[in-house]
Amino acid sequence: MSIKQQVRHFILTNYLFTEDPSKLADAQSLMQSGAMDSTGILELIMFLEEKFAIKIADDEMVPDNLDAVDNVVAFVERKQAAR
């Protein structure tokens, strides 16, 4: 599975409790759409660190990196490229 597929699958099953792909648009804000609350971010970070073997610093935990599928995918790709 591509990074995007894995991220989408995680968000769909963990926050939206569904596998219906139509429930999640790649550009949609996870917080503003109610998919994720402020504690949900911790779950997402644990998933990304384990799944993609990256370390996420405190100052990287910002909505620009993590608040939509597109943002998350671009962030993970940047982190992996920097390794």
Binding site: F17, T18, M31, G34, D37, S38, T39, G40, P63
Partner: protein, 636 residues
């Protein structure tokens, strides 16, 4: 009907059949143990009453009524009700200081009055069943005789899955209404009138006060001292809960000032440090020299007692917090106590919750939304949470910045909480979602707003909404009356003496929230009675473990797995089975840590228990009850 309420009154039963009316009473004898049996009548037996609760100022009312010529036959507080009605008519409730529900039959006028105390400390439900009106302290008594079909009220469920409770008259049982706090239902022939005799009210924009901060603190001190004096009235010993927080410590300290007898105190302790407050409890125990009993509550205890809890709450709930308090009241009763005082209500009355601070910070920030420093104040909230919503500053700003400028919304302080709770709706089945289409839980609340609400201070508006939702519907009910009465224990709440509420509601917001210091005027009033570790302590809300209580090594108790199996979920029809299975998988993996997941699990499980315990008819529910009782016994 009355047999189903034996837990509320195991000390005796009484009945009256008079014309078209039947009154029944289960007695928990606390005042006038020898002659206080109910129903009780006036001198010529034309007025009859049964009541649940206490009239704390019955001595003063009685003296006034005797001066007016009324003749009393007992020493009970109940008898004051019938004479006060004769003397004052329907206004008699204004003379009562207490926590009560009253059914009063005036045989001359052939009218029935059903009255509930101002703050709704005691419960009261009614249902029209053909030409009959059924009324009782708990819904199970109505279900015992009603011929109406048993159905879940989906709008009520939508409210629980938004506010944590139903609001106003609604319950989760279709056709069964709650008489709201501060209301009297008058029934005469076919006519029915609901009268609000008391309102939770604040003055318009109360920024000024004729009292200085210190003068206000002095009055709080006097009022609370008198409230405790009245609420210690009983012909049985009175104990107190001691959570380790400011509020119950104040109550215990006030009791201590009134008696040389060592006070008996009770508390819950947890193994998990995130929830446990035993170190502060011990500080107060040493400070006051109380005779203290603490009850350790494990994850297994919470899971095993949960079905019994729902049998008492009679509503779905979204947190397990009431369970340890039900376990605690069981110990209170075993220790020989029928009455305990608690600190409930202080947070609503004096502005104790983080929600109030959060809303004040957001209002402050909203005046200059471009400010970078104002949202930094949010980082001072929620220091007690392991998974804090302000753990990441950027996320906190993003989360709490939603709807920032919507400061005129009546629900400004609460709407974000409700969005989080409302995530439960995603688990509802398509059928239930379709039935809920068009249901806006906030609309019911909007109808309850007083006409001058928009002119109240922001904190007053938040306090009102908090009272109508969490206080009335949850804390005083599922986490209050119901869990105490489950074990035949009466909880008393001096902070909700209506004189205290009325006085505090008149105070300016800045007397309650001083900067970000909550309950400032209360702290000032009682600093001299408390050790500094408690008097200056930042509020830690009472909570208990939710999902963690039900999953050990990735497995839930068999009854949970069975109740949440696809078959059972499918036959009940309320939830989307596949969504629930995904949530369960997350719970088993130990990954469900957020507020929303915890509320979803507890909400779904408790809704399924409401279905099993109350909505399924006859033998199925009885068999299920018996099975749960034996499962709980096996755990113990």
């Amino acid at each position: 009907m009355i047999e189903s309420l034996a837990h509320r009154g195991p000390d005796g039963f009484g009945y009256l059949q008079e014309g078209p009316v039947g009154l029944a009473h289960a007695r928990l004898s606390i005042i006038d143990l020898s002659s206080g049996d109910q129903p009780i009548a006036n001198e010529d037996q034309s007025v009859w009453t049964v009541f649940n609760g206490e009239i704390f100022n019955f001595i003063e009312i009685r003296a006034a009524l005797e001066r007016a010529g009324h003749v009393f036959r007992t020493q009970s507080d109940t008898e004051t009700i019938v004479h006060a009605y004769e003397e004052y008519g329907d206004d008699f409730v204004h003379h009562l200081n207490g926590q009560f529900v009253i059914a009063l039959w005036d045989s001359r006028r052939r009218r029935l009055l059903l009255a509930r105390d101002r703050l709704g400390i005691r419960p009261l439900f009614v249902q029209r069943d053909g030409r009959r009106i059924l009324f009782a302290s708990e819904i199970k008594a109505i279900l015992a005789v009603s011929s109406q079909p048993r159905r879940l009220d989906v709008d009520g469920l939508a409210q629980v899955f938004t506010f944590w409770s139903t609001v106003g008259e609604r319950t989760v049982f279709a056709g069964i209404r709650s008489v709201p706090p501060g209301c009297m239902l008058k029934l005469e022939g076919e006519r029915e009138e609901l009268v609000h005799y008391w309102h939770w009210s604040h003055p318009a924009a109360a920024d000024s006060s004729r009292l200085s901060f210190d003068e206000a603190a002095e009055q709080v001190r006097e009022l609370m001292s008198d409230a405790v004096r009245l609420q210690l009235r009983a012909d049985v010993p009175v104990g107190a809960y001691l959570s380790g927080g400011l509020d119950s410590s104040i109550i215990a300290a006030l009791v201590r000032t009134r008696s040389d007898v060592p006070l008996r105190t009770f508390s819950v302790v947890f193994d998990d440090a995130e929830f446990d407050e035993s170190s502060h409890q011990q500080i107060m125990v040493r400070h006051l020299g109380t005779q203290h009993t603490s009850v350790r509550c494990t994850h297994g205890d919470i899971a095993a007692s949960f079905p019994r809890l729902i049998a008492h709450t009679e509503t779905p709930i979204v947190r397990t917090g009431p369970v340890p308090l039900m376990i605690l009241s069981e110990h209170v009763r075993r220790c020989g106590f029928k009455v305990v005082l608690s600190g409930e209500g202080a947070d609503e009355v004096f502005g104790g919750y983080d929600l109030f601070k959060e809303a004040q910070i957001r209002r402050f920030w909203a005046r200059r939304p471009e400010s970078r420093s104002r949202p930094q104040l949010l980082r001072r909230l929620y220091p007690y949470l392991r998974h804090s919503p302000v753990g990441s500053a950027a996320y906190a700003e993003s989360f709490f910045g939603q709807g920032l400028r919507d400061v005129d919304s009546p629900f400004y302080g609460h709407s974000q909480r409700w969005v989080t709770t409302r995530r439960l709706h995603a688990f509802l089945s398509r059928d239930v979602q379709a039935q809920m289409a068009g249901c806006v839980p906030e609309a019911a609340l909007s109808e309850m707003l007083p006409p001058d609400f928009a002119r109240w201070s922001g904190l007053s508006r938040d306090q009102f909404v908090e009272a109508q939702t969490l206080l009335f519907g949850y804390l005083l009910s599922s986490q209050g009356d119901r869990v105490a009465m489950a074990n035949s224990v009466e909880g008393r709440v001096p902070f909700l003496d209506h004189r205290v509420v009325e006085f505090a509601n008149q105070l300016p917001a800045r007397y309650k929230l001083r900067g970000l210091k909550e309950k400032a005027v209360l702290r000032r009033a009682f600093a001299h009675l408390l050790p500094p570790e408690v008097g200056g302590r930042v509020k830690q809300p009472y909570r208990s473990p939710d999902i963690q209580s039900f999953f050990k090594d990735g497995r839930a108790p068999a009854w949970v797995e069975e109740l949440l199996s696809p078959q059972r979920l499918g036959s009940a029809g309320y939830f989307d089975g596949s969504a629930v299975q995904r949530l369960l998988a997350k719970c088993r993996a130990g990954r469900a840590i957020g507020f929303a997941d915890n509320m979803a699990f507890v909400g779904i499980l408790s809704t399924m228990l409401v279905e099993e315990l109350f909505l399924k008819r006859g033998e199925a529910a009885a068999a299920y009850n018996a099975g749960l009782a034996s499962a709980a016994a096996a755990h113990n």
